[in-house]
Amino acid sequence: MKKVVSLLLLMAMAMTLVVGCGKTNNKNTAGNATEPTQAATDTPAATEETTPEAGGDVSGIKVGVIYIGDENEGYTAAHMAGIDEMIAALGLSADQVIEKTTIGEDEAAYDAAVDLADQGCNIIFANSFGHETYMMQAAAEFPEVQFCHATGYQAKSSGLPNMHNYFTAVYESRYVSGVVAGLKLNEMIEKGDITADQAKMGYVGAFPYAEVVSGYTAFYLGAKSVCPSVTMEVQYTNSWADMAAENEVAKSLIANGAKVISQHADTTGAPTACEEAGVPVVGYNVDMTSVAPNTALTSATINWGPYYTYAVKSIIDGTPIATDWCQGFADGAVGTSPLNEKAVAAGTAEKVAEVEAALKDGSLKVFDTSTFTVQNSKLEDLITSNADFAKFSAYVSDGYFHESEVISAPAFELRIDGITELTK
């Protein structure tokens, strides 16, 4: 028996050696090529700035990135694409970027952050909300390293000079995608498929807090700007990425009479349900036409490339990074995925272009207080009359809610009229 085992052992060892040696030769090409997990080809904005800036010294730069998910999950995939765009724009080599995927929101995030700092990273990004406190812990320990955290809100209040928050004005792209949904509802009304007061949308939300509320309100206001009779129901999955739950929630919203579905959750669960039921759907993060070729209208997308390029370039140039960074259409940081001509209403493209232009030049504000009411009164009136709403006074002036201007993270957590939150 021993003989057989040792024979097996020998064979296995020999095989390992052969395979190993055979592959060593192309290690440099194959090994490094696999490093950036996301194909750099689908980042259109990178083309203009492919030559590295002559002024800064790029060679000393090391970038660490901590992702909550991996390339299989839309939210993280969008961040990876942004990092790739940055690498191309600044002319870094792949080994100057260390990426850590599927890092949970516990001590793993801290371990990952300090490990990246130990490896000599000058700047470290983390992309999930729950990573923030761990980034702050690491930032206090490594004052010479810059820590940038997406979707967080504590950089300013932490008082740490090397802690930064970034987010995008995704509410702008949600507004635009809402316009697309509203036009689709108008088409149904015109065709006589539904009456005007049946124009109800469903929204699959992740968690009941500001980031999601801000997003669905913007979506709703976009739809309402073209279809005044629209209403919306929101149901939460209490998870960022739970494909089965998102699928279920979408189905129950459709059963409840929703004519259009949108989502703020990271998987393709909802679009899959919509494709089955033949209900138009507006996605998030990634183009959903692959799972819902007949029903996906468009997706509200975030392009993280501009921020990553900005932040790393600041390190190269030795300029400070903004404590709170938030940009929208004007900087190309948000967008909508290509309209699905098979599904959208006629004339959508023109209307979308018009709305985008208005958002870019600032003539249109998403949270224009004249377009919605809260508890049947105007927001400005509520702030002066109701103590519960006084905290929003810092945000509201000049006739609109200044989302993402005080801090980069969304702050609009008002439940406006016309939207119903369904609780189980």
Binding site: L9, A12, T16, G31, T101, F129, G130, Y209
Partner: protein, 368 residues
Amino acid sequence: MSKEGANKEVFLRMSKRDSISRTKAWTIRLIAIALSLIVCALVIVFITNDNPIQVYLGIIDGAIGKKRRMWVTIREIMTLLIIAVGLTPAFKMRFWNIGAEGQILMGGAATAAVMIYFGNSMPNWLLLLIIFAASSIAGMLWGVLPAVFKAYYNTNETLFTLMLNYVAMQIVTFCIVFWENPTGSNTVGIINGATRKGWFQEIFGMQYGLNIIVVLIMTVGVYLYMRHSKQGYEIAVVGESQNTAKYAGINVKKVIIRTMMISGGICGLAGSIIVSGASHTISTSTADGRGFTAIIVAWMSKFNPIAMLAVSAFLVFMQQGSIQIASQYGLNENASDIITGVLLFFLIGCEFFINYKVEFRGNKKGVQ
């Protein structure tokens, strides 16, 4: 089947071994470890197209290549070890406690509660003592519940403890609603981040010194308890045969309940080591499957604490190492799960060859 076929001897024959020498057993184990490493290398080479030697250097670098990585590895080893130690008395009694996950979660939740509600009202040493007490009691409750039912109603403890894991998970989910920061985010975040109240502090300049001290005390304590105390002997007797135990005048019910209090209590304490000593937060993934991995550690070590330390160290070493491999080669962390899975497959599989003899039959023996 033809006659010839029926007469043919089986090529492979397995029989139970009466006994096996220590050297032989360890040779088999070492072969299994070597084989598992080779298979892991093959898997990684298949995925990354890289030289396996490079890959193993990467694993070593990831686990102990830097001072901080070494400390993280030690911290994880200690956590796994204390859970395995906690499970030992129950398993020795043949009480299949697969509820360590739940006991850890309850201990962790108790720890978080103490940190949140009493964090600012007392000195840290006192707070830590209360944390140790609270987490042990929470784990104890979670352990004693199935023990009482087993002792009095002879319920199936495997199912009972397993189901309590899910109950514990729901309780933690429920607690998070109260403690979440900010509201609606479903995460608690670092507890007492600014004041560091209830955190394990550096001891002798070692970041995880207190983790080591607590775990080693518990390990030695359980070893002595099992080997050199009357109660430890009673546990062994109950484990061998409850009837013998009854005949010998041992109060079986009492032993079952007492032992599970100890087992659950230590697993609860492990929860405080995770929450106070490492993550400083509570979530449903606080136990993170360690309660199940520890079962394997305890079994494979035959409840020998030194072996437990070695097995935990080996598993954690490979886990931490494969995290490095993942980021080095652009894989995701599933790579770590694959490697751990392969290791466990071989390590558990080799126990079969220790217990059973495999004989290959040639023609020379003749057919009867």
